[in-house]
Symmetry: C2
Subunit: 339 residues, 2 copies
DNA sequence: CTGAAAGCGCTTACAG
DNA sequence: CTGAAAGCGCTTACAG
């Protein structure tokens, strides 16, 4: 490992001051071109490594941005992360990632860590039950927060997400338009604003079409493929014999379709199924999934942009940015067959 | 934001020195219990936030561990990450995550960043073409590296991965045992050791069974669902009419099965398909996927453990740790039907 | 265009 | 058991 090379090593070896070396390495116009070139060359040949901790201690800007979501393994979040990453990368920010698995405590630890590291900002999809105080902790200590996919009430923080009630109504109306009357809703929870909004959107769409709402047609809970797969049994044994299912998301829909196929029925023909999110794999599922585009890439890109703008000193004006979902019709839905 | 609260703020407010406060907050036995309690209470009520940059500048330990893989959206890596995360979390390490998308340059930037932040270590699944020098850069600057899933030649670094040749032979032999003789290999690339090992394992298994190896039965390339889905067309139009396919991984296998189903054939009955990795979703695919367990969770856990042990000062002895894969037989493979 | 010096907020010998 | 002082490696006024 040898001796550690620092600014002063370069300065001494060249008979200059650390101030000059520091400025030169950051391309300050204050330094003569020839001096700068000599310094950079020397830094390279000595294998100098810039110490960001020291710099950041002095400047109190770290170049670190934290991102925390429910679960990065979930493709919905992964697609948001991908967009955030490409936006932050372009601006040479380092990002620290974490899952909170809906543990408010784990999320709080993450914020705490970020504060300790002097993070410049945080983008989060808040854990269920996040108190406004946790966001205030960040903001009050100079760590601006941006929310994605979920809202938190009681504090004004820029939030980017899809319009859930509108989106789920698109899916429900699509099925109604195909002649379905007994439509189940699979997955989701009342503990999140998203969950409440989506259920409400489904209920409203049915009411508007004069279809009676039957709470037994709802299977709350599932949010994963596994969950959807397991829900198929309950779904298929409902006494109301639903002919269609509005699913919480694409994962649940794909799992449900697998479960339906496992039971010998043909999803998309015998039972119509809609997803939500339009994940990359929705298009290659069998059958290809009819779903609602929810703008993950948009959400991620806009959230990152908003944070960078904020760090650059501009003022964000709007606090809730709703993305308008769009219908994507494929093969998992078909007209209701009168028996 | 008010005034920033630091050690000296606490010290002054209590009429103590910063040394005592520093020791107390870290539970040093040197400090009297009553003093410690007073200090901790005061820190809490003032909303003190520990400045890790300052501490780490002094101690040159940062508590940061970097993890870089091809793509965190890929469930194979996600499963490894999940295991790494739970192991590091338990040891209160912060981890910084990055994708390299097989760009050696992006990977090098990440290592550079980690060095600048004073990272304690790095766990990586090296990008295709990673030169030994890039790992040496890390090691020489006090950043120990651990490899997962892929090897790099020319440097001795602890490496954890599955035994690929052995694993793919398991799958190939399984199909041979079911009577299949025309077996295609879908996906993978010769540019990685993994790719070469798996192809070799397939070739060797065929030879051992006296089956002629036909290079036209190989479709190199695909590593994703989308890739497997698209490969189905080529696969189904092969003049040799293969009755089975050994796939690079579960994603390719699931994509291929979807493509086969789309063409009107029944995967698992008309065509036998094997995957590789035993991802969580393999079991709920339709049909449930016959695959090779590749120990992602093991790999992640062991790699994290190895790094933590190294940081704690112990010497790792072995450099390549091969996990023995195991066969998982489900419904996507069935006996060859004589025509 | 370049340098001397202070300071960011901690921790660590060293003294008492 | 507690304190005074140096130092980690940068950057930033300030001087010249």
């Amino acid at each position: 490992m040898g001796q550690k090379v620092k600014l002063s090593t370069i300065a001494e070896s060249l008979g200059l001051s650390t101030a000059t070396v520091s400025l030169a390495l950051r391309d300050s116009p204050l330094v003569a071109d020839s001096t700068r070139d000599r310094i950079k060359e020397q830094a390279r040949s000595l294998g100098y490594i810039y110490n960001r901790r020291a710099a950041s201690l002095r400047t109190s800007r770290s170049g670190i941005i934290g991102v925390v979501v429910h679960d990065i393994m979930n493709p919905f979040y992964a697609e948001i992360l991908r967009a955030i990453e490409s936006e932050l990368d372009r601006n040479r920010q380092t990002f620290i990632l974490s899952n909170h698995y809906d543990s408010v405590e784990k999320q709080r630890n993450f914020i705490e860590t970020l504060l300790q590291l002097g993070g410049d900002g945080v983008i989060m999809s808040p854990a269920i039950g996040t108190p406004a105080a946790d966001l205030a902790l960040a903001e009050d200590n100079g760590l601006p927060a941006i929310l994605v996919a979920r809202s938190v009430t009681g504090i004004d923080v820029p939030t980017f997400r899809g319009d859930d009630a509108y989106g789920i109504a698109l899916a429900t109306n699509h099925l109604i338009g195909l002649g379905h009357r007994t439509i189940a809703m699979i997955g989701g929870t009342d503990q999140t604003s998203t969950g409440r909004d989506r259920y409400q959107g489904y209920v409203d769409a049915l009411r508007k079409a004069q279809i009676e709402v039957d709470s037994e047609l709802r299977i709350p809970g599932p949010r994963t493929k596994q969950g959807g797969f397991e829900a198929a049994v309950t779904f298929l044994s409902m006494r109301q014999k639903p002919t269609a299912a509005v699913c919480w998301n694409d994962l649940v829909a794909i799992g449900l379709m697998n479960g339906i196929a496992r039971a010998g029925l043909i999803p998309g023909k015998d039972i119509s199924v809609t997803g939500y999110d339009d994940l990359e794999e929705a298009a290659i599922a069998t059958p290809a999934l009819t779903t609602v585009w929810n703008g993950q890439a948009e959400v991620g890109r806009m959230a990152a942009r908003a944070l960078l703008d904020k760090l650059a000193g501009s003022h964000a004006e709007d606090y809730l940015h709703l993305i308008k979902p769009e219908m994507r019709i494929r093969q998992s839905t078909s007209p209701h067959k009168a028996i």
